[in-house]
Amino acid sequence: MRRRAGFTLVELLMGLIIMGIVAAALTKVFLSQQRLTVTQVEQASMQANVRTGTLILANELREIGNNVTGGNDIKTFTSTSLTYRAMRSVALACGITSGGVRIRQNPIYGARPITAGRDSMLLFVEHGLGTTGDDEWVRLPITGITVSTCLTPDSAPAYRLATSGLPAASEVRLDAPVRTYEIMQVAPVVQGGHNWLGARSVSGGEALTPVAGPITVAGLSFSYLDENGNSTGTRSNIRSIRIVLRGQTDWNVRPGNGLVGPSQPLLDSLVTTVTLRNMRLP
């Protein structure tokens, strides 16, 4: 009798079992690969966030000064929060009149228009012409902005920055520099269940908004160092600021090779030191 074509039950079962084993192995490889990818993407993203956060802080704080005429750029400082004057634009004065400083419309170097209330200005006052010892930056509020012209005979297009407490017009040179600034704060902020590096314009009346992160609880810390690198609590002694930013991933991920260990956020931190640039020399 000729054997009929086909598989026996045993052959079929063996085939199914082998196929099952192979499929299970492939699924396992696929899933662990997927977890691994998630872990790696999260880790890369966290590293980028921490890097961005420290760069933002270092670049913001590098420009500020201390013991400068016109006041101190550091307003308040704690181990987790810093309020400072952030320079926003530079312009040239072309006329001092009663209650107003006129600045040339062109050039104004800044990333956004000057805003009354939010911005204040530092006006360079020459006082006596023969000496540099009495030169100073005078801090003035900006209470309004109107389109105007420079004083004659110049008459170029200008903005008039309404203010109060002006020095005598004779003590300010034509094209004296005007710097505008706003009061900024950097501090941690909680949003959506995560901690973030937050920033806000204090003089603009803003609330803290996240600029980089997420960071860990207490993931932002500042230390204020004097000229010898020792910690100081005296504002006029601050020469550099040490920043520690501790980041964490958005989600819980499998650590290491993505296969073992409980699911938890990955952590990383960066430390940087920035020396304040605009210091008046001793």
Binding site: V29, L36, Q40, Q47, R51, T54, E227, V271, T272, P282
Partner: protein, 124 residues
């Protein structure tokens, strides 16, 4: 029995398994290299921050005196930062500026690697 029984020979199966394992190995190797690159990226960032912090500290030292750069602390040195990063810096030159060379040595799986950063301090 007419002809050979249908099915795979042992050799065919072995070749198939070999090809499959080469593919799986490639996948595993790629994830390993991604991890290595993440590690390198992290390390380079840290090296850059350590070096720039050192430059900032030297700048602070230079600013201690007027005119600048007269401080006795503004000299070459060596220090160990976090994660066993070794920083060596040299200060050279006189007059209106100083040349700064910061070399950061990092222990890696393939032995120590160095990064060098050059900068200048204004002493006027």
């Amino acid at each position: 029995m007419t002809g050979s029984t249908r099915g795979f020979t042992l050799a065919e199966v072995l070749v198939a398994v070999l090809i499959l394992s080469v593919g799986l190995l490639a996948i595993a190797a790629s994830s390993g290299s991604v991890y290595r690159m993440l590690g390198y990226g992290r390390l380079s960032t840290e090296v850059a921050h350590v070096a720039s912090s050192r430059l900032e500290i030297l700048r602070r030292e230079a600013n201690k005196t007027s005119p600048r750069c007269q401080s006795a602390g503004l000299v070459s040195g060596i220090d160990t930062a976090d994660n066993n990063l070794v920083e060596r810096w040299t200060v050279s030159g006189t007059g209106p500026s100083r040349s700064i060379v910061v070399v950061i040595t990092t222990p890696t799986g393939h032995g120590p690697a160095s990064d060098t950063i050059l900068s200048t301090l204004d002493c006027r």
